[in-house]
């Protein structure tokens, strides 16, 4: 592609290596002025790396960057800001205990003499910006008190305050409710009308269709081409992204629920600061059904799971597994009641990364007679058992029994956890964010496994921040807001908008 002033951003032949690993292999990107340009790729494809290079956080090993047809060198974020580039990072770069205004001016402060802050003037400038773009943000609010959607708008304001003409949004919708996503897309179109150019990174196809003009696809660090969004569809984009045909719909038969396996009555759980995170919550999961809990992160999901698995104490209420109360006992007691858990953070809770794969597969079961007598472990048995699991669940690379868990990719680590949990044939399987950070292929596998477990007769409690996942996989959908279940529906009887409203606290009881 020619270098031309028609384009706000052009990156040509970008090569980036981390050690021996090639994250970007001569990638091209051409973004027309005043358009929304999507970058699509699976997790780990190199999207963030490419944008970090544009923003000066990383240096490309080869290749050139051109803005409005002129070659530029971007060595630091300061350079990028000078060239009118702003970036909203996937994980927000906000100081949580600062106010909105403080976050926006940080590094480019409004000062009187001798570096003394002029907060009054700063506040006015921020307020003017808020009004110009019609954002609903209070300049005096503290970041930790405002919603994620608002935090994101603060990030956008940060870029606009520095005079950004080109705005990079890295996975901006991952943390938003459907309504907030709609609002964001509105904002994006507004910014385009005001002359800005936007680059949006995502792996959500639907949003590309709604928001973007063009879409560039990266697969494992290789540029796969750019398509005009009007001339394509979701299935087409998906297969370009993964390199094979994928089934985007979840296939399953009708559920045949049996007896209740998990029943929770009046559960209240406090967090470490003494604030109620789960409030008087009631929930039932029966054998042979998948109950999905939809909700935004931080509405008590973590505490709910921690209470069921006895990692934290319940302040009030009962948790029964197959009719027996288990609350306020020990994690092992939950486990011996045939409960298996796929934790939300596999590195923190699910695995011991420096241990071998085979050691990881018996983390709960190392005390079982099967794996050794007394205080000893039978390593041969461990290994043969792990080999079985590796084959059955297609954990790669095959023959990784003695390798450290940290050497496996995220998808295979997740498979290892699922293999361990499912092989115990639990009565209750708790899946908390089971597809977090996985690519489309691995997600398909996880969903199939959950449904197979259901068909075996297990009760499944699925908790996810991805509304689509809850809607596609669950037989019953419950919405959690502020530590309470605020609505329960059978699959197919409710739409995204209604759930989104409940998730955001609209229509709360």
């Amino acid at each position: 592609m020619e270098v031309s002033s028609e384009y706000a951003v052009q990156m040509h032949g970008i090569l980036k290596k981390f050690g021996v690993f090639t994250a970007l292999d001569h990638v091209d990107l051409d973004v027309k002025k005043q358009t929304v340009h999507a970058i699509l790729g699976e997790n780990g494809a190199g999207k963030t790396t490419l944008m970090n290079i544009l923003y000066g956080l990383y240096q490309a090993d080869e290749g050139g960057i051109y803005l409005n047809g002129e070659e530029v060198k971007i060595a630091t974020p300061t350079d990028a800001i000078k060239h009118g580039i702003g970036m909203v990072h996937q994980h927000f770069m906000l100081v949580e205990n600062f106010t909105v205004t403080e976050n926006i001016i940080l590094g480019d402060e409004v000062c009187g003499a001798a570096g003394v802050l002029d907060m009054k003037k700063a506040r006015q400038e921020v307020q003017a910006l808020v009004e110009e773009y019609g954002f609903d943000v209070d300049p005096d609010a503290v970041i930790e008190d405002i919603t994620v959607g608002m935090q994101q708008r603060v990030e956008i304001l940060k870029a606009l305050y520095r005079g950004a003409e080109i705005l990079i949004l890295d996975e901006p919708t991952a943390v938003l409710t459907p309504q907030e996503i709609e609002k964001l897309i509105e904002i994006m179109h507004d910014l385009i009308a005001k002359g800005k150019t936007i680059i949006i990174i995502t792996h959500k196809l639907k949003e590309i269709m709604q928001s973007s003009d063009e879409c560039s696809i990266i697969r494992r660090g290789v540029y796969m081409g750019t398509v005009n969004v009007k001339e394509t569809n979701e299935t087409d984009l998906a297969s370009k992204m993964v390199g094979r045909n994928v089934n985007l719909t979840v296939e399953k038969t009708k559920a045949h629920p049996g007896e209740p396996v998990l029943s929770i009555q009046g559960l209240t759980v406090k967090d470490e600061r003494g604030i109620d995170q789960v409030r008087d919550l009631n929930l039932e999961v029966r054998a042979g059904e998948i109950v999905g809990i939809a909700g935004i992160d931080g509405n008590g999901q973590q505490e709910l799971v921690d209470a069921i698995t006895n990692i934290v104490k319940a302040q009030a209420g009962t948790i029964k597994i197959n009719g027996e109360e288990v609350q306020n006992t020990t994690p092992r007691n939950t486990y011996t009641h045939s409960v298996a858990t796929i934790p939300s953070d596999r590195h923190r809770w699910g695995l011991v990364l420096p241990f071998a794969v085979s050691e990881n597969t018996v983390l709960e079961r190392h005390v079982d007679e099967e794996f050794g007598a007394g205080i000893t472990l039978d390593y041969d048995k461990l290994k043969s058992y792990t080999t079985e699991l590796i084959e059955k669940f297609d954990i790669r690379p095959s023959g990784c029994e003695d390798e450290r868990m940290s050497g496996l990719s995220g998808g295979n680590q997740q498979k290892a956890i699922i293999a361990r949990m499912v092989s115990a044939a639990p009565n209750l399987l708790i899946a908390f964010q089971p597809t977090r950070g996985l690519d489309v292929g691995a997600i398909e596998f996880v969903h199939k496994t959950l449904i197979a477990e259901r068909d075996r007769g297990a009760a499944i409690l699925l908790i996810s921040f991805e509304l689509d996942e809850v809607m596609d996989v669950s037989d019953t959908i419950a919405v959690i807001y502020h530590g309470q279940i605020v609505g329960t529906y059978e699959q197919g009887t409710v739409d995204e908008n209604e759930l989104g409203l409940l998730m955001a606290g609209g229509g709360a009881k």
Binding site: Y58, E96, F98, E102, G107, D108, E109, G115, L117
Partner: protein, 305 residues
């Protein structure tokens, strides 16, 4: 009444070295670098202050020299923990182990092998040396270092909360990556803060050896740096909070002195434990509840995820 005035006077006196140390802790930890080497830096300040006062006969110059020497030791901590992302606790412990030995070595070197310095010139008292001499009120005639400590507390507060540098320091201590993406040099901010913390700690050591007593001894600084660290936590990482906490600890020490002098039926060894016991009690009660800067103790490595 007399004993209350005495208590106030001694409290101010004993809290002064703690305040300097605690301010050092605040400034360093606010930028995200744990500095348990405060104790060692105070020891170095103590020996440097006494020696410089001996050789120059000018306690003001000696006070500055103590600050510079504390800052130099802190530079080591900064190099290890900021540039090389070393474990900050280990680096601090190393300084605490090294400093007393180094201090003793310097003392023996300067003073013909003696383990303590001769009596040296002290910093002046606020109202001159003879104010109300002989009455109980002379106890309120505090050393200037006590006033310097108060002024430094106010200055630290002002810089942290009212200037752009303070905003940046706090941002770097909470979320260094965010500061980095806005073009703030995280390493530079941390270097400056760690070195300043050493300067403050050096002042603290000197305020003991040329403010309270007038010589360097091996036990001049014995745990003051650690008490100062507790004051940082108890004071919620704010200058005035730390100041108040130091007054509390200083007050406990004053109480020890007062009770120990009288006919109180408790062995003085038990009384001497009071400040340290108080420290532990306060830590047990408050450590869980106070909020440290989020990035405190976490080395920042550019581009790591």
């Amino acid at each position: 009444m007399d004993s209350i005035i005495l208590l106030i006077g001694i409290t101010l006196m004993y809290s002064t070295p703690l305040i300097f140390g605690a301010l050092g802790g605040v400034i360093s930890e606010r930028s995200g670098v744990t500095n348990i080497g405060i104790e060692g830096m105070m020891v170095i300040g103590a020996v440097a202050g006494a020696s410089a006062s001996y050789f120059t006969n000018n306690p003001w110059i000696a006070f500055l020299v103590a600050g510079i020497c504390g800052g130099l030791v802190a530079l080591l901590h900064a190099i290890a923990s900021v540039s090389f992302a070393a474990d900050q606790t280990v680096s601090g412990v190393a300084i605490n182990l090294l400093a007393p030995g180094l201090a003793l070595f310097l003392c023996r070197y300067f003073f013909d092998g003696a383990a303590m310095s001769p009596i040296v010139e002290k910093m002046p008292k606020v109202f001159g040396d003879s104010w109300m001499a002989g009455t109980v009120y002379s106890n309120l005639n505090v050393n200037v270092t006590t006033i310097i400590a108060l002024l430094l507390t106010i200055a630290t507060w002002f810089v942290l909360y009212r200037t752009k540098w303070g905003l940046r320091v706090r941002a770097v201590g909470e979320h260094p990556a965010a500061a980095d993406t806005l073009g703030i040099d995280v390493y530079k901010v941390r270097y400056v803060c760690v070195i300043l913390s050493g300067v403050f700690a050096g002042f603290g050591g000197a305020s003991m050896t040329i403010g309270i007593i007038s010589q360097f001894t091996q036990t001049a600084i014995s745990g003051h740096g650690f008490i100062a660290m507790a004051a940082v936590i108890f004071g919620k990482w704010t200058p005035f909070g730390a100041y108040g906490a130091c007054l509390l600890f200083g007050g406990t020490q004053a109480l020890t002195v007062l009770l120990g002098g009288g006919s109180f039926p408790i062995p003085s060894q038990i009384l001497a434990m009071l400040p340290y016991a108080m420290t532990i009690i306060v830590l047990v009660l408050f450590v869980g509840r106070s909020v440290a800067p989020k990035a405190d103790g976490v080395p920042y490595i550019k581009g790591s995820r």
